[in-house]
């Protein structure tokens, strides 16, 4: 008897976790117009999704934004992590702490302050404002991921490279970056996902010129739940799974 108790408990937990996702995937193939009846298999919602030009555009916008935000924050974040790891300087602890403040502070506070800043400097709300905002909230995550990897980094490796004739730049290119690559990729992926599904900050700092997916979905749902949303959700799910598998594959490969 007692062995069924933990199993049942686990089944309930996983059932609760996955039931909504399964419902979403199943109903994305539902031919019926209403969301609670089964009308047979169909691709129609996927078709209408891709025929919805505004939706497709928002999707591309979101992807482009996530790509650029993740890349920019990985570049800045990696350099920040390196500086924090390698050098001893005045105010290092403060800088380190400030990263956590950005990470821990409520998103709404960040959203309002960013909006206020952009209005103050007269920045047109659109791609640029979104990018700046997304880089801001992705940055601490990248820095922390890279710093975790660096803390396990053998300090003798750069010395060995220098000893064998590499200058600082060559050493960084051939030893440092390859060794911390998994952390860079992990940080990039983290930034990518954070950016892709952000709603709160994006609501504040986006303009009519650049509509992104989460906001598009949000406005779509307000009018009434259309089965197109299920199809979109399924696509995003598949996309995230592929990304997850990709990152796992890269991580295991780099360990070999």
């Amino acid at each position: 008897m007692s062995r069924w108790l933990p199993r049942g408990y686990l089944a309930i937990v996983y059932g609760l976790l996955y039931a909504p996702i399964i419902v979403l995937v199943v109903f994305s193939f539902n031919d019926s117009r209403t969301g609670y009846e089964w009308g047979g298999l169909s691709w129609r919602w996927y078709e209408s999704l891709f025929n919805n030009r505004a939706m497709v555009e928002a999707m591309w916008n979101s992807l482009w934004l996530a790509l650029s935000a993740a890349t920019v924050s990985t570049l800045i974040g990696a350099l920040t992590a390196l500086a924090l790891h390698r050098y001893r300087f005045r105010g290092k602890k403060v800088l380190n702490g400030m990263l956590f403040v950005v990470m821990m502070s409520p998103e709404i506070v960040l959203a309002i302050s960013l909006l206020a800043l952009f209005l103050l400097v007269g920045l047109q709300l659109g791609y640029v404002s979104l990018l700046l905002a997304h880089v801001t909230f992705c940055l601490p995550f990248v820095v922390i991921t890279v710093m975790a990897r660096l803390s396990g980094f053998d300090e003798r490796l750069p010395e060995a490279a220098r000893d064998l004739g590499a200058n600082d730049f060559t050493m960084t290119r051939t030893v440092l970056i390859p060794v911390i690559m998994p952390a860079l990729l992990a940080g990039w992926l983290l930034g990518f996902t954070l950016s892709l599904d952000d709603v709160v900050v994006s609501t504040f700092v986006s303009g009519p010129s650049y509509e992104i997916l989460p906001l598009r979905i949000y406005s779509m749902v307000r009018v009434g739940l259309k089965p197109e949303v299920n199809a979109l959700g399924t696509l995003l799910l598949v996309f995230s799974l592929v990304m997850l598998m990709l990152s796992q594959w890269i991580l295991t490969r780099s360990k070999q």
Partner: protein
């Protein structure tokens, strides 16, 4: 006479106000195997890192073959290092690790392939070129590290405690192998260790360091048999230091010394002696003879510890005045009196002429404290 290859002069270095190296002078000869020996914190690693270019002296100069290297960055120094934990590049194969230095020199591909293969053959790892470092055992990684450092044919190879991570048997094998490599390559080796046995068995010359100051520089034999001071005497090898008092200096280059009430005649040391002066009589455990209690010679004591070591039998004997004596004797199966039981009374003696005399040192008390620490 060998030529000086690397010359260190007046090297001084402080870390956070603590002197790590104190105006140190050292000439390393071309083709020799020299070992920097000392307890942790003695400055040996700092000295090595200074030669490699990872640390910069506050004062002093480093010249290699007459060329000033003091401010040359590591990548431009014609010497290479074998690091303590090997520091192999984890993302590169064994081949790429070894090829790294040659790629930095932008050598043609054919030459790189050939030289890497030669280097790997030299350390018997030809078949492991495609492996990654983590797929190798500790000893194999050690060989890769050596191949990677010698493939550039440096004038000088620096080895920072390279064997400390290996088990005892592998260590012995690698010691022999390193000596063979050094002979074959004719490269000058600067070897850092805290293991005095390793230092004695491998080196042409040993530098004993303490608190950033050279205590003694000499052949292993000189360092072991004729230590320059109490620190070296205690640090290198097991030591019995008996208190002695000069009874009288004889005309024939000998001196009579009172040790435990025995009047023994020793060779005259090269420091000044006056009558009644206190000094230390240094006797290694293998110089000690353990005699039966009915012998006339020697000092009375009793056995408190016996330790069978295979080829030798090591014992600890407490003399009647409380002094502890270490003795290490080779087996003599024909000698019935050889095997003493614990607590058995014996007499302790030694062969005159095997002793070494050291003067009293003003700082003896402090030194004893720092050796224990």
């Amino acid at each position: 006479m060998k030529q000086t290859l690397l010359s260190l002069s007046n090297l001084t270095k402080q870390f956070d106000g603590k002197k790590v190296l104190d105006s140190l002078d050292l000439d390393i000869l071309d083709g020799e195997f020299i070992t920097l020996l000392g307890p942790s914190g003695c400055g040996k690693t700092t000295l090595l890192r200074m030669m490699a270019g990872f640390e910069h002296p506050d004062d002093g100069t480093i010249t290699l073959g007459g060329q000033d290297l003091t401010h040359t960055p590591p990548e431009h120094r014609p010497l290479n290092t074998v690091f303590q934990n090997y520091a192999l590049f984890p993302h590169m194969s064994v081949f790429d690790n070894v090829a790294y230095g040659l790629k930095m020199e932008k050598r043609p591909k054919d030459e790189i392939n050939q030289r890497v293969e030669e280097a790997l053959a030299m350390v018997q790892l030809e078949d492991f070129a495609r492996r990654k470092p983590h797929q190798l055992s500790g000893g194999q990684q050690q060989r890769v590290a050596i191949a990677r450092a010698v493939v550039k044919r440096p004038k000088l190879l620096l080895l920072d405690e390279p064997l400390s991570a290996l088990d005892y048997k592998l260590r012995r094998t690698m010691q022999v192998e390193l000596k063979r490599l050094q002979r074959e390559l004719g490269i000058t080796f600067v070897f850092v260790t805290h293991d005095q046995e390793e230092a004695l068995s491998m080196s042409d010359r040993v530098v004993v360091l303490k608190d950033g100051v050279i205590q003694q520089l000499g052949t292993p034999r000189e360092v072991y048999e004729r230590p320059a001071n109490l620190f070296t005497a205690r640090f290198v090898g097991e030591t019995n230091l008996f208190p002695g008092q000069v009874d009288r200096a004889n005309g024939d280059d000998t001196v009579t010394v009172d040790v435990f009430g025995l009047k023994r005649t020793f060779r005259k040391p090269d420091f000044e002696l006056r009558e009644g002066q206190q000094l230390h009589v240094l006797l290694r455990p293998e110089d000690i003879r353990v005699l039966a209690p009915d012998e006339a010679d020697g000092v009375a004591g009793k056995v408190v510890e016996r330790n069978y070591k295979g080829s030798t039998l090591d014992s600890v004997i407490h003399l009647d005045d409380g002094t502890e004596v270490l003795a290490s004797e080779f087996f003599d199966e024909d000698d019935p009196a050889f095997d003493y039981r614990l607590g058995e009374p014996v007499r302790v003696s030694w062969v005159d002429g095997w002793e070494w005399l050291l003067p009293e040192e003003a700082a003896t008390f402090q030194e004893e404290a720092s050796v224990d620490a």
